[in-house]
Symmetry: D2
Subunit: 353 residues, 4 copies
């Protein structure tokens, strides 16, 4: 096959990096040619990510240190870069690579928001506000056309993906009211990253379930509102509650919205079916979703119910926060940008159990 | 001490039974004199509940089979009975014991609802509807006066306790609207009981998080509405969503209600402080609650936040579903009925971690 | 590619079946054409294994009921069958398919033992003892030559694989004594299968760690002794202790053997390197193995240490019981039988975390 | 009751401190009067250990900073101190308190070894080697007489307790050979303490099982050999393998020893029964032990089997590493020192599940 893309991963030592490597290995048109990490530069990849020990040509590769000013060196070496660094740092690296003509899929929050002021309120000053309108939000199910040929792609956050997917068909089809949307999302601990913290210490996570950054404090809230507002054709505000759940992978979002007077469950389901032509979002009908059913897979599941007594629509979604919530989503966006099938090279069967 | 009560437990082989035994062992005025179980009658208690092997006088005791018509035999043998059987069965046993003058704390759903019609719609015909108005709902924080001297007590369900406690001060003080209350509760797996089922199989619970019986389908919904409606002084309807979470113990309920125009966070917190004079419900201020902090303890934690953008009150609660959600709640109700201190003999320090 | 093999899976509704489907989906030369299950015949595969919902052409396929006498119907329909039924049942189905010229990889214990008497003592009478010498033990690292072209392959058990792999280089090279070998193996719960049992109930597995079937009682002991004795050139007996560990996937075996007087750690490591030319067994040197590092991957890790004070060799191995301990091992054996690269189409990067 | 002892805890902010507080709360003759911690001095106890929030008089107490030179200040304030600091630091604090006439139960490793040279090889120079022969090893089942009236007690380590208890009756009764003893122990993660580390990060512990510090590298090995050698009447060496297991609490030790020619299983069981008159070690006969059965309890379980083919005795033990492996053991030793019943105030029923 002539068009195998040469891939670079900047930020390969964390969990999204590990998952990118696993997924690239299974993709027929990608070949990982460059891996960099901040804290572990100089070490062999296999010493940092023991999951790759079975692939000696990867395991022995040394993690490089990579700064934006070195982007020129990568110009002829890679075709596409996945950047997965902390915010602001990621923006700089991504911009530098993009300026060298390298296609960039950034997994940080840096290019997800359209409005530089909203970004600044949430994360601080943006290093490259001029690129915000160039970047395309990499949720393929909603931005397929814009992604075609895109060279700077912002892979969506895990929580936003789980919140946007189930609500999108309802808002796009005026099936629910814009006011009063509540999203109660529950995430596995890997979403908090690889750095050991008191809040991610095994003995205090196991058997521990807790809400955090509630009542508008979580940084993913503006991203959710941006995308949902765009679909609804009007600005809206949501209550977003993240909860930390004693499991490693997976997000379950349960969203609550007030049904419009004539809305039926069948309409909700049909709207979702229409919107998700993609094979990577599956609309459940009889079953309710379970994070275990999508673990390790590039698929998300959505499901709907109406509480008829109160006329509340429940829009539910499960996905693997490191796959459809991060790394497989990035590859899916790349597939879409290149005009390939959404699911090319991506795992569609979950690791069960 | 002269007044040690002789205790009988009917339904000792399950998880609430196991927890009752643990808690009675630590209580200075209770002595377990009779243990019965349906499926394991004839076996030694220690063979059914290996957790009691450290107490030979309990471990060697044989589990008896107990039918309502044998209640007379227990009349002089025990002073108080905890009944923890499936619904309908529990009602019959509890009634028979009560008729013999034995004080009964029933841990099933049978005597929790005031309205026999509501019970019938939810569980089927009630064997003793005439006792529904005699029974007192055993949530001490709300029914302290009625519990004093009560001889038939319905220990509340685990989900209802977690939903009612945080909302009670808000509704009793008209701090929130009655319409639009949403309760998203997450429970550990022990709430599903001891019987092995596909839904409680380790390999499909671990790393699995799922909603179930949503949109009004869960049987605890009427119990929640009964108590909240009573506090509000008007009937109300809630959206109640239970979620199964990969941990053994613990419930986290996050309730959402629309703030009245002038409601402040300080008012919510103060209302809770006023209501929960009891040492067994602690109002958190800076911290958000965590199930791990109450595991194995008789305490519940509640906390409040207001999402000011949408004027939504978040009322949160954590408790141990087998303790404050079942067995320690039953003992707390007994303490209240006897005029003892709420916390007498109950663990107030959690097993952490 | 012209030679895509048509695959049938008999026993598709369990965990090894689920894993076979996941792995076949990623294999470039396999196409699943037939799926059967005993208990769930007539249901759609996606209703039994929700992990395949992302592949509609699989999810919608109906699980067939399959009895040995129907083997003829499959003759022209599939090229290779994976059979994963309870012992004795699996033997019959495998034999019937084999007689129709279909290549069979059996994942049960039925064709693993060479000696029909040993089989009978362990499992009861063998339905097809005449096939025992035809079947090849599918541990590619030890039977590569015999597997080439094999048409009846017995995929090894999960515990035996974890015990045999680390000890094989030591015994084949006379580095340890034959007497006094102790194997202490710890397994995740998925090894116990999909049927809900008290011993696999979430609430009693989580935070529960226990030995079971110790002191020669576990059925995998003869299989371990057969293969190790063959390598040692003399019969031997091992102490094998299985332990159930609160995790879903993974086995860690720690084997203890007395070092021969001149044995060095370097010799042990070198012997392992020589034996495992295969890319699917990786010899760790500095690190000790961890089940998380091989989860979902077709790789096993082995490591060695010598306790110099007592001259005891520790031979350690980790693998995924459903992958290298079952399903990926079966595909690896098929690869070897067909003369393909061992790792063709198999995941070599673990799902981490 | 006149003789309530006033308790001080130095090192109250960690997991053994948390467990000491829980257990002291349930003990009728102990009252916690002083709490100190190194890292969290100045904070309210309830902010550091949210498990105590249900006991306002504890939760509001400020954690003090405590240095050895302040011991005089505590002289009239507390009767007994539990010290739970890192090694060397604990020795200094314990010695200073002991010199003030305060009874000290030290939970560190500092006073467990009788031989200062062995201590130095293992941990570095001992700050108070002159006290080593004064200190009594606090394993009540083995040192009951010496503990009576003891004022400086070294509470045993969690791994040593789990290894010594099951082997003690065998060695004391010459039922097994001294050579070739192998101990394969599996521990929950709380044994690693409260400080977040990569090795205790939730996402890398869950589903991860791994040996560590094998082949004599673990510091608990000399402590095990000291006590077992004392019982055997001759020095001996063991192979000790610790494994980290994805659960919070619990240790399972499986020890392997060669049976003497005439040794029977009945002799092993009887020897254990004779030795463990204490109600806090229970000898299982039909069942094999399970960590879940002793979680949160002061009890240990031991069980025996003989692998007759190889004449290997399996001596198994389960206990809660934070209770019988640390904090309840410390209280049990205090009970013994004071002449109280072993189990006074200690939980003997496990938290199950």
């Amino acid at each position: 096959m002539t068009d195998v893309l040469r891939v670079g991963i900047v930020g390969a030592g964390g969990y999204t990096g590990s998952e990118l490597l696993r997924l690239c290995q299974g993709h027929p048109r990608l070949s990982v040619e460059f891996v960099a990490a901040r804290d572990n530069a100089g070490k062999a990849l296999g010493d940092v990510l023991p999951s790759v020990l079975g692939v000696p040509e990867l395991a022995g590769r040394l993690l490089e240190r990579f700064e934006p000013e070195q982007a020129r060196n990568l110009a002829g070496r890679i075709d596409v870069a996945f950047t997965a660094l902390p915010h602001a740092a990621s923006a700089k690296v991504a911009a530098a690579l993009w300026q060298q003509g390298i296609q960039v899929i950034d997994l940080s929050a840096d290019y997800r928001l359209r409005d530089a002021e909203v970004y600044e309120r949430t994360y601080g000053p943006h290093p490259h506000p001029e690129l915000l309108e160039t970047a395309v939000y990499g949720l393929v199910e909603l931005h397929r056309d814009a992604l075609r040929g895109a060279r700077l792609i912002a892979a969506p956050g895990c929580y936003p993906t789980s919140a946007i997917l189930p609500l999108a068909p309802l808002l796009a089809n005026q099936l629910v009211e814009l006011e009063g949307i509540i999203i109660d999302a529950k995430s596995g601990v890997s979403g908090a990253g690889r750095k050991p913290l008191p809040s991610t210490h095994f003995s205090e996570c196991s058997e521990g379930l807790r809400p955090y950054k509630v009542a508008g404090a979580h940084r993913h809230t503006p991203e959710i509102e941006q995308e949902l507002g765009r679909l609804a054709g009007a600005p809206l505000q949501v209550v977003f509650t993240p909860n930390l759940c004693p499991m490693t992978r997976g997000i379950l979002a349960v969203a609550y919205a007030r049904a419009k007077p004539s809305t039926t469950l069948a309409q909700c389901v049909e709207a979702a079916r229409q919107m998700f032509g993609s094979t990577l979002v599956h609309v459940l009908e009889e079953a309710l979703p379970d994070t275990l059913w999508v673990r390790g897979s590039a698929c998300a599941h959505v499901a709907y119910r109406i509480d008829e007594r109160t006329r509340t629509v429940l829009a539910m979604c499960t996905l693997d926060n490191l796959a459809k919530g991060a790394s497989s989503q990035a590859l899916q966006a790349l597939n879409a940008a290149r005009g390939w099938d959404d699911a090319l090279g991506l795992p569609r069967i979950a690791m069960f159990p």
